[in-house]
Symmetry: C2
Subunit: 404 residues, 2 copies
């Protein structure tokens, strides 16, 4: 059994770093607050007897020794960065559940054959720097280290420079990582567990994603003197595109389509907007459907271009639906049964570091419910009991694979 | 006759202050660049023998003495501030045409009974601080001085503080101004003079305007895990509103409707937007039609609210269509005839300081063509000949009213 109070207290302690008035957390990747969060976590991991390493993309690896150090570790972990309007649990829960697993093993004097390793992956959110899951993506080989270090945020700051600045450009190479098995605990961030009244989600895979940047170019002109029929208004075009993205998602259930980011230029109330930068996020659990959504988006853009403004579309990120490893999925399901938790199989709607870890190691995930299915919102909420459930399942699944 | 080369050279010299790579000008109200522009102009005005005063809202008054200083001045002038993607002529032309009138009077040793006064009005553009035409609006009594000083820009900087900072919080009271007549020269900023191949527009009035701020509130949530039917997406709602504004304008020709400003919160690509701030600008030359547009906007917002998000609408600025003084309009028309310029009557689509000056003094305006009718754009363009035409008409109209 894990120590539920200790896990909860650590979550609440970590949530103070970047805590927001509405009870959420804003700890964007590679900011000073991210540094503070990382340092607190490292302190706790060292107190729990772990050795700590940081790799060249800022991933943190904390290892509890196993009896046979030549064996690959059984891994867990998630991320400490948040959305601008993030909650206290998204990501952090998976990291601190991993820490609680180690602390509990220490409490009970448990020895494992395999070492146990907790990972904090860099920039999982993909909010400040896009795309998401960068740290795990570099380790899996989906991204080159260089391209990730060269990524810039909206203010033009380079990821590699920010990593140096906060002191987390580590020396461990990003290559050669291996896990005997990897489990990530995470809040569901969606409504299904709550709707079905289940305590644990046995995650069998993750839906596919396509991310785009679009730049729409019209012509700046005076809002009072330019007749309606002589305008080339980039914001009209982008508004049409926003509504098209919604329409495309609705036409491909249970797909999702979202425009979360938009910048208007020159953003002056009496100038017709000349240029819009916007993001597009399309998702579907079935790759063929995601392909159709991509085609529908391109067709929609052609239609919009026929009205005047030009649209340049950069499809800079794609990954296909992920299927987790059967042994790991079964280990999670068996643990929920052994511990008497109600459970259901579920597909992750969000991207998770586990999706990329599963490229090179047997992997699965454990979901716990969250209030009203709301995440990426300061009001994101879950209970101590729900956190305890997922963490207990994590402990048991890890013990199975790490061989006590 | 005025000195066309000198007018053009002054325009090009002033355009260097805030000059942009695309040949435009970014000299936002009460920035350091606005300060530089104001100082250069004051230097020129003093060299031309004018006395200079600055009032409490930063309006600059440069006076060329008349034979009878007890008479109210014949005024002219416009503004030196620009849009973020402004051109070299919008506003500046009216100020420097005024200066050229004084310089030409000096060249020819002309004496007038009435003093001649050139005004630079503070924050005509309404881009950095809204609404527009603030300096003339305070003098006309449309706004109180205090409410204008308390206006904030998007970064929360207070107009009064910015005015102090650049050294243009003057000592002259804003009350008690008077003109025997006031003429403002300005580029048309629209397509009509060019389309009709006329050199001068005799401006008979200005269309009415309604400006609004809207805040649309939905609910932030995860872009990958929130099913489409459970979303409350503020950007979807604002996109519907942008398209409605266009529809409303098109349904009330020749009305205009524009959303030029929009901010998305939290502006993260994988978070469904929870809050949008946006501007709405509606215009029509007939007040009854503008009232209908306002009603249609409110109805559209009710429809959008029925879909989930809430909309708070702040109709913070309205002014009815303006009709200029017949004597002043005739003075302009007569000057174009006397000088042999082709001309047409025209209604201003933009707001101008002359619209507010006409509250308390006989007023009219002189329009000159601009290339392709484009303004509020760095590529805004006009010719030296066109500038000369408008300035010559200004000189003649002013001489008529100032009594040589
Ligand atoms: N877990 C999570 O919210 N990840 C962010 C990446 C995504 O947008 O799915
Ligand atoms: N002249 C001009 O562009 N004024 C700005 C105010 C308006 O939007 O009409």
């Amino acid at each position: 059994k894990i120590n539920s109070d200790r896990l909860w207290d650590s979550l609440m302690e970590m949530a103070k770093i970047g805590g927001t008035p509405k009870g959420g957390c804003c700890r964007l990747a590679l900011t000073d607050l991210d540094k503070q969060g990382r340092e607190l976590y490292i302190k706790w991991a060292e107190e729990a007897g772990c050795t700590v390493k940081v790799d060249a993309v800022g991933n943190i690896m904390c290892t509890r020794p196993g009896e046979d150090m030549s064996l690959p570790p059984v891994g867990t972990g998630s991320h400490l960065d948040t959305q601008p309007t993030g909650g206290k649990f998204d990501g952090v829960y998976g990291v601190l559940a991993g820490l609680e697993v180690v602390r509990s093993m220490n409490d009970h004097g448990i020895k494992t054959k395999h070492p146990v390793e907790i990972s904090v992956w860099t920039n999982e959110e993909g909010s400040r720097f896009a795309p998401a899951m960068m740290g795990s993506g570099v380790v899996s080989g989906r991204f080159t280290l260089q391209e990730i270090l060269d990524t810039k945020d909206v203010d033009g700051l380079r990821l590699g420079d920010e990593l140096e600045r906060i002191g987390f450009a580590g020396e461990t190479p990003v290559t050669g990582r291996n896990f005997h098995a990897f489990f990530e605990a995470h809040i569901e961030q969606g409504p299904y567990l709550e709707a079905e009244e289940k305590q644990v989600g046995v995650v069998t895979g993750g839906q596919g994603q396509r991310w785009y940047n679009a730049i729409l170019t019209g012509r700046e002109s005076h809002a009072g003197t330019t007749p309606m029929h002589l305008r080339s208004d980039a914001l009209i075009a982008s508004s049409q595109l926003v509504l098209k993205v919604e329409e495309i998602a609705k036409a491909h259930p249970p797909g999702c389509g979202t425009v979360g980011f938009m910048q208007v230029m020159p953003n002056s109330r009496n100038t017709i907007p000349g240029e819009i930068s916007m993001s597009i996020d399309l998702r579907h659990p079935i790759d063929e459907e995601l392909t159709k959504m991509d085609a529908a988006l391109k067709a929609a853009i052609e239609e919009i271009e026929a009205t005047g403004p030009t649209v340049s579309l950069d499809p800079f990120w794609y990954y296909e639906p992920i299927h987790f490893n059967e042994t790991c999925v079964n280990a999670v399901r068996q643990a929920t049964v052994d511990l008497g938790y109600s459970h259901m199989d579920i597909i992750a709607g969000a991207g998770h570091d586990a999706c990329y870890v599963s490229d090179f190691a047997p992997t699965s995930m454990i979901f716990t419910p969250c209030l009203n299915g709301i995440s990426h919102n300061e009001i994101e909420s879950t209970t101590q009991e729900e956190c305890e459930g997922g963490c207990s399942v994590l402990l048991n699944a890890m013990l199975t694979m790490a061989e006590v």
